[in-house]
């Protein structure tokens, strides 16, 4: 891609409100994950004849939090709209959603998010925020629509509350898109609205056009990194078409994560007619300014402010503060809780950003899982050993790898041969003590190498078994020889 290709990108981010106990319009649990297919359903979310939706009021509060955090204008009436299309994952063959027009309004319009790309700060405008219901899930037994002899539908997810956050086409590169999504997800995570680590909790559709081409929509991309990859692929594909004299037509494409390419799914010559109209089962709900004020008063610290605070309060670099906060709220929480317990902010930030994230990524586990192993307590032990020079900073890295991959305590590692150069000093001190306390045994050992084992045993006793026996033997042997001379 040439640097001067002008690109316009707009995103539609679908976020499950995972903080809710129940689905958007019925009392089925909102947490559908890991349940047997079609066991998390009721007449309402299955769209059975006669069933009626009732709005989950908590979902409205969660949406208002997001609207306030994104500086959006909240509409005075909450109106739900039916969006019609026939598809097997949609039990009513319409989705209860929101729309701007046709007698309806989204919960909020406008707003913005500030993003930092390298040293440049930029405003990305929000177009609107919708509340809507998630459809069920279609699965293909072979994993592919082409080769599967039949289709399975699981409605466990049907009716889970979603927020659809739509941006203006303000993004100008795949990297900006990634940064934007990371920032947005971080905001939602800080608000407590969603847990982005859950599979499928954040799904992105991207609209992209390059200069002279029409808008292409890429559907259903998962992580911020995939958004970047999909957009990079799409820019290359579209640029190649333009270069060879072709034209980019309006269409919808799907991101094939496995192959790393986008695949055309349908030509979009005509705007699909969703026959929007206000849902007559759900009378408009007034959103009072009292409610908005109340929700506003519960807003927590948001990522932008938190980054600034980590820099001023703990002296973190802008880079470290940014990564700690944006990569995951859990990381920032772990950082602050460890610092509260044992100080040494920059050491801890570096442990989390440079070591924890590396091994979490390499092992393919979530940050949450990583932090269950690298607990505050363990982080503080490592910091203490480092300060006491029982561990070198090089060995710390080894330790963290072991802690995250094997879920092991640093103290247990000491007994397993993980002893460092610095520990030589410590061991030498212990050996010195043993020599002083056992002059007779030392004399014996000088004559009879087999008697060395007694001294090794004493060292092991003093170190509670945590000294490495082989190394201890060698050190004692060396010390004995020194004495001889």
């Amino acid at each position: 891609m040439s640097k001067n290709t002008r690109v316009k990108i707009g995103l539609e981010v679908h976020v499950q409100i995972t903080s809710l106990r129940t689905k958007l319009f019925c009392s089925c649990p909102s947490n559908y994950r890991g349940k047997p297919p079609n066991s998390n359903v009721c007449p309402v979310c299955l769209g059975l004849p006669g069933a009626l939706p009732v709005v989950n009021r908590e979902a409205i509060r969660e949406a208002l939090k997001v609207a306030l955090a994104l500086n959006s204008k909240i509409n005075k009436l909450l109106i739900f709209t039916r969006k019609h299309y026939f598809y097997p994952d949609l039990p009513k063959n319409y989705q209860i959603s929101q729309y701007d027009g046709m007698g309806s309004l989204p919960i909020a319009k406008g707003g913005f998010i500030r993003i930092e790309n390298d040293s440049l700060s930029k405003i990305v405008r929000i177009r609107r925020i919708n509340i809507e219901e998630d459809p069920g899930r279609i699965t293909y037994p072979t994993g592919s629509i082409v080769t599967s002899p039949y289709t399975l539908i699981d409605y466990n997810r049907s009716g889970v509350a979603l927020l659809e956050i739509v941006t203006e086409p303000d993004l100008e590169s795949p990297k900006e898109a990634r940064i934007f999504i990371s920032k947005l997800v971080s905001i939602l995570e800080h608000l407590g609205v969603t847990n982005p680590e859950l599979e499928g909790a954040v799904r992105v559709d991207a609209n992209i056009s390059i200069e002279g081409g029409e808008r292409v929509e890429i559907k259903n991309i998962g992580s911020p990194k995939d958004v970047e990859k999909a957009l990079q692929y799409e820019i290359a594909r579209q640029s190649a078409i333009v270069k060879s004299g072709g034209s980019v037509n309006r269409e919808t494409r799907h991101w094939d994560k496995g192959k790393g390419i986008t695949v055309s799914s349908r030509a979009k010559e005509l705007e699909e007619d969703y026959r929007y109209f206000p849902d007559p089962d759900l009378p408009p709900i007034p959103i009072s300014s009292d409610l908005i004020d109340e929700v506003r008063s519960t807003l927590p610290e948001l990522p932008g402010d938190r980054i600034k605070r980590l820099m001023s309060e703990y002296g973190l670099s802008k880079y470290l503060a940014h990564v700690v906060v944006i990569r995951s709220k859990l990381l920032a929480d772990a950082f602050e809780s460890a610092v509260r317990e044992c100080g040494n902010a920059s050491t801890i930030a570096s442990i989390l950003v440079n070591e924890l994230l590396r091994w979490v990524d390499e092992c393919g586990i979530t940050i949450e899982e990583g932090l269950k192993r690298l607990t505050t307590k363990r982080i503080c032990k490592l910091v203490r050993y480092l300060k006491e020079k029982k561990l070198s900073s090089k060995l710390i890295k080894e330790y963290i790898k072991k802690i995250i991959t094997e879920d092991i305590d640093p103290d247990d590692l000491i007994g397993k041969g993980y002893v460092s150069i610095m520990d030589l000093e410590y061991l030498s001190n212990v050996i010195e003590e043993v020599f002083k306390e056992n002059p007779k045994a030392v004399e014996d050992a000088k004559k009879n190498p087999k008697a060395i084992n007694y001294l090794v045993g004493q060292v092991m006793k003093k170190t509670m078994g945590k000294a490495d026996p082989q190394l201890t033997y060698e050190l004692i042997n060396k010390r004995l020889k020194e004495n001889v001379c």
């Binding site: 009626l52 019609h84 026939f86 097997p88 046709m102 539908i153 026959r275 009378p283």
Partner: protein
């Protein structure tokens, strides 16, 4: 044996002798055995033995003094109201084998008061029609004249009550579907104020227009059933938050008319389409009311001429959306899907299992909601709807009720109206304003042309069912028609 004709009468018998319920069940099933083949009111009739078992349980509850309000009542329920474990078809092939896993709120409330559901009644498919001829299974015949329709869409519910096949029944009214068959069978049918009765478990035709309501042989019975089925339901977001007062509407039956009752007559409800004998009977009722101190005055609502088109745009729009869910995948009509695309299967299922009238309304509804036509049709209809509502509310701010013939014509013969949709739709001209405006409306037996019943409709202010029922009771007593029993079943009384 003794055959009580009203709920109060029945309760008296039962309180004297709880075992009378068994006698009553036998009696009703005897009537059904002889009458049902002639009128065909039921799509699903529960087996006699099963109902007897239910009756025995109720008797046990009476003896242990834990029984509810509707002991002994055998209620016929329209087949678009969900009944757990009892097939609910909506008179459509689409749902011909659908056995719901849950109960409608009104059914739960009936059961809580120990009513027994006797069966599910015939109707126009998905409640779309005014004659019950649109049932996918068979037509119901008017017990007053077997060559004529009983009205619709709740034709089965009204017929079952008129023909003594049930104590009372529930219907639903989207554009007159309770009042039309009540008028044609000389029963009393109430469409409650929008939001008074929960719609949870009512299979939707047009959500913003419809209500479930009772069809009975007397105004007092309507009051008793309304007491049971009305009141706030957290499962229906359009249900009105009003406390339920046990016996509230029943108590209204004891009230005297307070002062001079002001009756408005709307000129536009007497169009060219109205039949002369209907007008004659209506006027004779008005004369009686006037001589009993009612004040009758004619007013004009020019906008009412838009009521029918407005109704059909809104109703079909909502229907096209509500009926989208029937695709044969999760429940209902099923075909072999092997080797076919889902799109193909959907088209096949919907083409085969919906009747013509249903398809016509889905098509019209899809059209009026489509991009480019939305403003011209749906949006405009919504505005006209508000205008009509405001006009009717204004009239009711200075009148107690608005009166009209329920139906502009006598019960048609089979095939007479159904062949021409516009003629069919025109029958709803006087009933749809109450649905468009949400107002409560009742149809009372007003008299007969030969043996053909004529209905008298009263509309009143939102949630003024008590006043409406009090006035209705007065008129019922004055006219002394109810309970009106067709010749066909008179020998059973």
């Amino acid at each position: 044996m003794k055959a009580p004709l009203t709920i109060n009468e029945l309760k008296e018998y039962v309180m004297n002798d709880p075992d009378f319920i068994l006698e009553y069940v036998e009696k009703i099933y005897d009537v059904i055995s002889s009458i049902e083949p002639k009128v065909r009111a039921f799509i699903t009739l529960r087996p006699r033995e099963e109902v007897i078992r239910d009756a025995e349980a109720v008797i046990a509850k009476i003896k242990s003094r834990t029984a509810g309000y509707l002991v002994g009542c055998l209620i016929a329920v329209k087949d678009n109201i969900i009944t757990k474990g009892i097939r609910t078809t909506c008179a459509s092939r689409m749902l011909q084998d659908f056995v719901p896993p849950y109960n409608a709120t009104v059914v739960e409330r009936l059961r809580e008061e120990d009513a027994i559901i006797i069966g599910k009644t015939n109707m126009d498919e998905f409640a779309m029609g005014s004659t019950t001829e649109n049932s996918a299974f068979f037509s119901t015949r008017n017990p007053w004249d077997l060559t004529r329709v009983p009205g619709g869409s709740s034709g089965g519910s009204a017929t079952a009550v008129a023909a003594l096949e049930a104590t009372a029944s529930l219907g639903s009214d989207t554009g007159g579907s309770i009042r039309a068959p009540a008028a044609y069978t000389a029963t009393v049918g109430l469409k409650p104020s929008y939001g008074l009765v929960s719609r949870f478990g009512l299979i939707a035709y047009a959500n913003s227009l419809e209500q479930i309501g009772p069809i009975c042989r007397s105004v007092s019975d309507v009051a008793v059933l309304l007491d049971v089925i009305s009141g706030f339901d957290p499962r229906d977001s359009t249900s009105i938050k009003r406390g339920r007062q046990r016996g509230f509407y029943t108590a209204c039956m004891e009230r005297e008319l307070e002062s001079e009752i002001k009756v408005a007559i709307i000129r536009e409800m007497f169009s060219d389409g109205i039949e002369a004998p209907v007008k004659t009977i209506f006027n004779s009722v008005l004369d009686k009311l006037e001589s009993n101190g009612f004040h009758v005055e004619e007013v004009s609502v020019p906008e009412l001429k838009y009521a029918l088109p407005t109704y059909y745009i809104i109703a079909t729009a909502e229907a096209s959306s509500n009926l989208a869910r029937y695709d044969g995948i999760r429940y209902g009509y099923h075909i072999v899907v092997e080797g076919r695309s889902w799109y193909d299967v959907y088209s096949d299922v919907r083409s085969t299992a919906f009747g013509d009238e249903v398809k016509r309304r889905i098509l019209v509804g899809s059209f009026v909601l489509s991009a480019g036509y939305y403003d011209e049709y749906y949006l405009r209809a919504s505005k006209v709807r508000r205008v009509i509502r405001d006009r009717l509310l204004r009239i009711l701010s200075s009148f107690d009720v608005i009166a009209s013939p329920t139906m502009p014509v006598l019960p048609p013969r089979f095939g007479e109206r159904i062949t021409d949709p516009l003629k069919l739709y025109a029958m709803d001209v006087n009933t749809v304003p109450a649905n468009l405006s949400g107002l409560p409306a009742i149809s009372l037996p007003a008299g007969f042309v030969g043996n053909l019943p004529v209905g008298f409709q009263l509309m009143s202010k939102m949630f003024s069912e008590c006043e409406l029922l009090t006035i209705s009771k007065f008129i019922e007593d004055l006219l002394n028609i109810a309970p009106a029993i067709p010749e066909l079943v008179r020998h059973h009384v």
